[in-house]
């Protein structure tokens, strides 16, 4: 009824009334820009901001990818490498429009494993520093590096998740209380992973060009993912599917949340590998395997009392682990702080939504027989498990 009335009242007059403030706004903006609005906007020094997106080293060459994240056009005038003025080329041009990108090519005889610092000076003598902590050839996207990044993802993502899933037959024998305990452990694991993902998102946000508002992106990505998953799970309840199907879909959601988290982990590893920050020593990989095996455990926790098909378990493992490979590829070949923020934000939202789903499931399970200390100790054990295994990686 109300809707009907609203529709009826929408006329040309309404349209004009709607547009009126917008037209007035345009007028105010025009007036402000043409007169300065009585304020003095003369700045003593121009505000310039340049985001160093990444660098690539190849024999005798250093390429630096930059983006103008300042409010106005800027021009790169000089490049200094390790306290030496060095000739350079810049494409498409030295003058970079707002949010525009450019690549600085420097022919420079760098040495393997040494550290370099590049300073870029704009025409207004504003200096921007590029830190190259360890110099080595940036992996090029060819078949070999493609596979080695895939292997990294396999080791830190797919293998450990599947190892965790292999606990399935053993854990099936557990009693009801232990199953609730395991669910609580999963919730604890996920809370820990969620916090970890959020922190990584915040770190990536600090590196993203400021106009892209990294923190805002985190909010958008996390909240939207949370609400979307929540809506999907409610829709499923409404369609009246049975309990075991619901538990299986919860397992899929956990796998998805963990998968996006592992994508973030892959991104970080790929990017770190590229800049030589990570030696990816055997010890570090072992650490990842130990930590991520608990993720496999979390994925199967909701379906322990059911008989999921083998193919389901396979899919659960792939969804949970394989994104690490994709992440390593993206992080290794096309790192973008902005994209990383978005992925990590989605991961944060997904993980916390899954925690919420698990909480609902546990609540249902303990309706007849409350076991608060089981839940408390389970959640705590889950968080401690990641904290202790994390000692191996951090």
């Amino acid at each position: 009824m109300t809707e009907q009335t609203t529709k009826n009242r929408f006329s040309f007059r309404t349209l004009v009334l709607l547009l009126l403030p917008i037209v007035a706004l345009a007028g105010v903006i025009f007036l402000f820009l043409s007169t300065g609005g009585g304020l003095d906007f003369q700045s003593a020094a121009p505000i310039e901001d340049l985001t160093i997106e990444r660098y690539e080293l190849s024999p005798d060459h250093i390429d630096i990818y930059v983006r103008n994240s300042g409010p106005e056009t800027l021009t790169i005038a000089q490049a200094i490498i390790n306290e030496a003025v060095w000739p350079f080329d810049i494409t498409p041009g030295a003058t970079i429009p707002r949010l525009g990108r450019a690549t600085i090519h420097i022919e420079y005889p760098w040495s393997y494993a040494e550290a370099y610092g590049v300073t870029l000076f704009t025409t207004n003598a504003v200096a921007f520093d590029v830190e190259i902590p360890v110099a080595f050839n940036t992996p090029e996207p060819n078949t070999k590096t493609f596979w080695s990044f895939a292997l990294i993802g396999l080791y830190v993502g797919v293998i450990p998740v599947f190892l965790g899933i292999f606990w399935f037959p053993a854990l099936r024998q557990l009693g009801r209380r232990w199953m609730v305990f395991l669910m609580a452990v999963t919730a604890g694991l996920l809370i820990f992973l969620g916090l970890d993902t959020l922190v990584e998102a915040l770190e990536a946000a600090a590196e993203a060009p400021s106009p892209f508002q990294g923190i805002g992106l985190i909010g958008i990505g996390a909240v939207a993912t949370f609400l979307l998953l929540d809506a999907l799970s409610r829709k499923q309840i409404n369609t009246g599917s049975d309990e075991s199907a619901r538990r299986l879909s919860l397992a899929y959601m956990i796998a998805l949340g963990i998968g996006i988290h592992n994508l973030g982990e892959g991104l970080a590893i790929g990017a770190a590998y590229n800049v030589g920050e990570i030696a990816l020593g055997a010890f570090l990989v072992v650490g990842f395997i130990i930590q991520n095996i608990t993720e496999g455990l979390g994925i199967i926790a909701p379906v322990l009392r059911d008989r999921p098909r083998l193919s389901s378990l396979l899919w659960l493992g792939l969804i949970g682990g394989a994104p690490a490979i994709i992440g390593a590829w993206i992080g290794g070949f096309a790192p973008s702080p902005t994209l990383a923020v978005l992925f990590l934000a989605i991961g944060t939202g997904a993980i916390f939504e899954v925690v919420y789903e698990i909480a609902k499931l546990i609540q249902k399970d303990v309706q007849k027989q409350p076991m608060p200390m089981t839940i408390f100790s389970g959640v705590l054990a889950g968080m401690l498990l990641l904290w202790v295994t994390g000692l191996l990686i951090k």
Binding site: P59, D60, H61, T75, A77, Q78, I80, N82, E83, A84, V85, W86, P87, F88, D89, A94, E107, Y108, P109, E114, A115, Y116, G117, T119, F121, T123, N124, A125, V126, A127, E131, I132, P133, V134, A268, A272, E277, I278
Partner: protein, 344 residues
């Protein structure tokens, strides 16, 4: 994952890696070197494709109002007249002014200058001459002129010693004193904060010739070593001799074999403790402060702290291109590098 800033540990060790010559030697075997787009050396260089620190292009000397090539041999003897007592009077008019100087292609530095140039005019006279400097402050900051030499306190150009120590914007002052002792000296602004007033460009050479002059040479040149802190973090970003980094690398100074050369070398570098001068493939006689006609050293490298100066005399035996540069290698690669082009 935390950033590993190895650079902080390594950067000091890495600096000495390569003088420009070393760098070009390193790159010599590289086939990729032929792709370099910048050729800082003009065609007279045989290996224009070698990797060398330097700049592409040229600053706008006309707009800057001075050209280091001209400053090299520009000695200002003033307006000369004779006083009733027979003493020679040299009068100068020096204006302090703000001026944007393009120090490297594309980078303008908001400098403070004497007579619109960095370094200021090379004031040259003979011991015992009466020097009269009509100093006009045309900038928006108080400035002064402080000469190294022997003179009355009121003529010292230091705040607190009288009106000459602090000349307000659009004010003026006449500095007057007898030039002594003979030697190579300098002048600079002494208004505080002193480091900033010097670093912004207010300095110049002051040559007092001995009464009977120095032995005749084929070339006399003045070289004032300084630096530019373009981002105002009290550390030099670029180094230069006679104002423009890499100028004499891109425009080698032509001389002939056997010709005698005398260089009046002054260091006014702010922020860094020392500066130095190294001449390639040659040795020179060194007269510290120029106050004696007997050299103290026969060497190819000397060092000077701020306001130290000395006279170098040498000639080249063989034709070729010869570098001269600060042997603080970092300064050399940041602009304090030049070349002599010696022909037969």
């Amino acid at each position: 994952m935390k950033l590993i800033s190895r650079r902080d540990f390594l950067k000091f060790g890495g600096l000495t890696l390569a003088g420009a010559a070393g760098a070009s030697a390193l790159a010599h075997s590289s086939g990729a070197a032929s792709k370099v787009t910048a050729k800082p050396f003009k065609p007279q260089m045989q290996h224009g494709d070698d990797l060398i620190p330097g700049i592409d292009g040229e600053v706008d000397h006309e707009k800057n109002g001075f050209d280091p090539t001209e400053i090299l041999t520009d000695f200002d003897y003033g307006e000369v007249s004779t006083l009733p007592n027979g003493q020679t009077l040299r009068e100068y008019r020096i204006v302090a002014a703000n001026r944007a100087i393009e120090v490297l292609p594309g980078i303008e530095f908001p400098a403070w200058t004497y007579n619109g140039r960095i370094p200021g005019p090379t004031i040259r006279c003979t011991e015992g001459d009466r020097i009269r400097i009509n100093f006009i402050n045309g900038s928006d900051h108080p400035h002064s002129m402080h000469f190294h030499g022997i003179h009355a306190g009121a003529m010292d150009g230091v705040p607190g010693t009288g009106p000459g120590g602090f000349v307000a914007p659009s004010d003026s002052f006449v500095y007057e004193f007898d030039a002594e002792p003979f030697g190579l000296h300098l002048y600079h602004c002494h208004v505080f904060p002193l480091a900033r007033h010097i670093a912004k460009g207010l300095y110049g050479a002051f040559i007092v010739d001995p009464p009977d002059g120095r032995p005749a040479v084929d070339h006399e040149m003045v070289m004032v070593m300084s630096g530019f802190d373009v981002d105002f973090d009290d550390a030099n970003d670029f180094y230069a001799v006679n104002g423009i980094p890499f100028h004499y690398q891109n425009h080698p100074i032509p001389i002939k074999t056997g010709e005698t050369v005398r260089i009046y070398l002054v260091n006014i570098l702010e922020f860094d403790l020392i500066n130095s001068f190294h001449l390639h493939a040659n040795f020179f006689n060194y007269y510290p402060t120029g106050t004696s006609l007997t050299p103290t050293e026969y060497t190819d490298t000397i060092m000077q702290t701020q306001a130290q100066r000395g006279i170098l005399e040498f000639s080249y035996k063989h034709p070729g291109l010869y570098m001269f540069h600060a042997h603080n290698t970092e300064f050399a690669e940041l602009g304090w590098t030049g070349m002599f082009e010696v022909s037969e």
